[in-house]
């Protein structure tokens, strides 16, 4: 069974899938970001030494912390929405509302986290 994709990358990038597509692509970016981070982090802890020290300095950077926390928090909250809708399929009637609810949960939590990270990094 082979999927055939007759869509060019340029067409794919112009796809206007709106809200649900945005959560899909952010879920994918978040998952990839976390997978790469966790893989590198495990390798760095396992190897230790200078490589581990260098990678730890990367993690301490505030921009990296904001990025990886975005990945983790969005992937977690969007994943919970997907899990709830998939395990109780009757709720799929309200899938658009679920996405609004998801943003209403995500934005304040992420905002607080960004505030804490920035005030620690810039304020001392």
């Amino acid at each position: 069974m082979i999927l055939k994709r007759n869509v060019s990358l340029a067409t794919a990038l112009r796809y206007k899938g709106q809200g649900p597509y945005l959560t899909y692509i952010l879920h994918r970016i978040g998952g990839l970001g976390m997978a790469i981070f966790v893989a590198v982090h495990i390798l760095a802890s396992f190897l230790g030494g200078e490589i581990g020290g260098f990678l730890n300095d990367v993690y301490k950077n505030w921009a990296f912390q904001i990025f990886i926390f975005f990945c983790a928090l969005f992937h977690a909250i969007n994943g919970l929405r997907i899990t709830i809708l998939d395990l109780w399929p009757k709720l799929l009637d309200h899938s658009r509302e679920a996405i609004w609810l998801e943003w209403a949960v995500f934005l304040p939590l992420f905002g607080i986290a960004v505030f804490v990270i920035l005030s620690t990094a810039l304020g001392g």
């Binding site: 069974m1 082979i2 999927l3 055939k4 994709r5 994918r28 998952g31 990839l32 976390m34 997978a35 966790v38 893989a39 495990i42 390798l43 802890s45 396992f46 983790a72 977690a76 994943g79 919970l80 997907i82 899990t83 998939d86 395990l87 399929p89 009757k90 799929l92 009637d93 658009r96 804490v116 990270i117 620690t120």
Partner: protein
């Protein structure tokens, strides 16, 4: 959108194969990770209360309850943070997260790799990754 009714097939018609089991596995491990991270955060709040542990350190412990994650903080004694309970919790979280994450990578790879030969290679690489990262993670958790 009220006219489209969700298509809900009974399990017998959907069939029970590996992909379906992994679909379910992904959702159940998501819930399990919520539970384990919640346990770790509650543990950090109890153990770190006296030293007024900050939010970042609580969360860092929450995402992986390994004692080296609180080593550089103001925690005076690492002993309560490195009990067998936390090592087992961290190990379960690690194994679940690695399996969930690598399966996610396979799902993404399947969207871009279209030949069945390429997909088989991706699967072999994914199995090697699960074993390698689980082993390295367990080694770090039980020797730190």
């Amino acid at each position: 959108m009220a006219t489209t009714k969700p298509r809900i097939l009974p399990l017998t018609k959907r069939g029970l194969n590996f992909e379906m089991l992994m679909w379910l596995f992904t959702r159940l491990t998501a819930l399990a990770m919520y539970g384990l991270i919640l346990i770790a955060i509650i543990g950090a709040l109890i153990m770190g209360a006296r030293t007024q542990m900050n939010l970042a350190d609580v969360l860092r412990w929450g995402f992986m309850p390994n004692s080296s994650h609180v080593q550089s903080t103001e925690v005076p004694d690492l002993a309560p943070w490195s009990t067998p309970f936390w090592k087992i919790t961290a190990s379960v979280l690690l194994l679940i997260a690695v399996a969930h994450g690598v399966h996610g990578l396979v799902v993404i790879a399947d969207d871009y790799i279209v030949s069945s030969r390429g997909r088989n290679i991706a699967r072999i690489i994914s199995i090697i990754m699960v074993i390698a990262f689980s082993a390295m993670g367990l080694y770090i958790l039980w020797t730190s």
